[in-house]
Symmetry: C2
Subunit: 237 residues, 2 copies
């Protein structure tokens, strides 16, 4: 398998749900597994976007900065950007773009990256503030999220689709972030529509899940939450 | 990460549930990812045990043979054998052995290999016959399983534990097979008790899931089965 066939993930959505937000992998380590991706930072400190081998953090205050190699993340996905499909699209809603992908059913059972670079008529994002210990559960932390909006913004939407089977390991369905070309606006996407841009998909044969097995909080946690699915949906959608 | 830190899996339990039994990876390819493991063969043809770099098939008739490099598997797990914990035990039931592992909670959230080499007072196994097309669902195929029993048998119990979160991707909990030292008796373990032997555990930081993305049956299948959990439990326990 080629490195472009692998979606790498550090941590699970399930470990964020009860509040395991301490960073357990450095940005430098993460970037050895991919040059493109999404995640969050130590303490659930904002939203991460990784483009062209650089990791950016969009903070709860809405500011964007490049992260240092020694900063830590509790949860992130990366891959080496090399789209398997790309096509131009104009004037489409997020729903229409997503529905189009599944028309042929080809993508439903696969992990794939979903990237759009272009101009968006409207983008609505959120970012969560860095949490204080003792950490609250994810659904609680998400209630204090800050919502940002921008019209006619040019930038990159980047994220992943994972099949329903992997809910809990991942946030099943689409999970996408945004960063504008000026590196001044972004976050976890709540809503968008596309004016004009290039849609790129990259399917993966391999999903490499890396767990923080040397972190005592992870090892000792009770991660069998019967409400996992609804907790994730409350926090991530 | 070292290669010994990786649990490699080809396919998912979820794809077996509706009957996707065609082999999609060769034994030769599989063995590049590990020298130890378990699985099944093309057409759900018996139970596979991989020890010291050799893949053995226990057929529905109960016969054991070494598999050829070009034979195919729809589902298998392998790793490179290098235990992180081992200890000798005598006169223990399967329940006592499993409970002992989780006393410290250390293992509950991790993937790990579970191997015992020793003499077993009793081993009960099953093996499923090769299925004919159109393939029946897994729970249906499992009804025609053959059950085998042997007392005072010396051999290797080998398999994996995966946390509940991964049910469907894997068969959550313990999933273990057996092969005796004479290579004449084995299968998917239904019950056992240990007279005397060495228990070896090997924890993994990485779970590498490989999907048959070039197989049209996999790509086109409807794998969103709301009864997935009960279907797996009916077939695997």
């Amino acid at each position: 398998m080629a490195k472009e066939d692998v979606l790498y993930q550090h941590g699970t959505l399930a470990l964020l749900v009860p509040g395991l937000y301490d960073g357990t992998m450095s940005v430098a380590d993460l970037l050895t597994h991919g040059d493109t991706g999404i995640g969050t930072a130590d303490g659930l400190d904002g939203e991460m976007v990784i483009l062209e081998g650089k990791a950016y953090q969009i903070s709860g205050a809405g500011t964007v900065r490049e992260m240092a190699p020694d900063e830590l993340t509790p949860f992130a996905n990366v891959h080496f950007d090399d789209p398997t499909n790309d096509y131009d699209r104009e004037n489409m809603t997020s729903e229409a773009l997503e529905q189009e992908i599944f028309k042929a059913h080809t993508f439903a059972n696969q992990f794939f990256a979903f990237k759009i670079h272009g101009t968006f008529g409207h983008v609505q994002t959120r970012a969560i503030d860095k949490q204080k210990k003792p950490y609250p559960p994810l659904a609680e932390a998400a209630k204090s999220q800050h919502v940002f909006e921008k019209d006619n913004v040019t930038g990159t939407l980047i994220g992943y689709y994972s099949p329903d089977l992997y809910q809990g390991t991942t946030s099943a369905g689409f999970h996408v972030h945004f960063l504008d070309d000026d590196r001044t606006f972004g976050g976890h996407i709540l809503a968008y529509n596309l004016t004009s841009g290039k849609v790129s998909l990259q399917t993966f044969s391999d999903f490499n899940l890396h767990l923080p097995v040397h972190d005592s909080h992870f090892v000792q946690a009770d991660l069998n939450d019967p409400e996992l699915d609804s907790q994730i949906k409350a926090a991530e959608h």
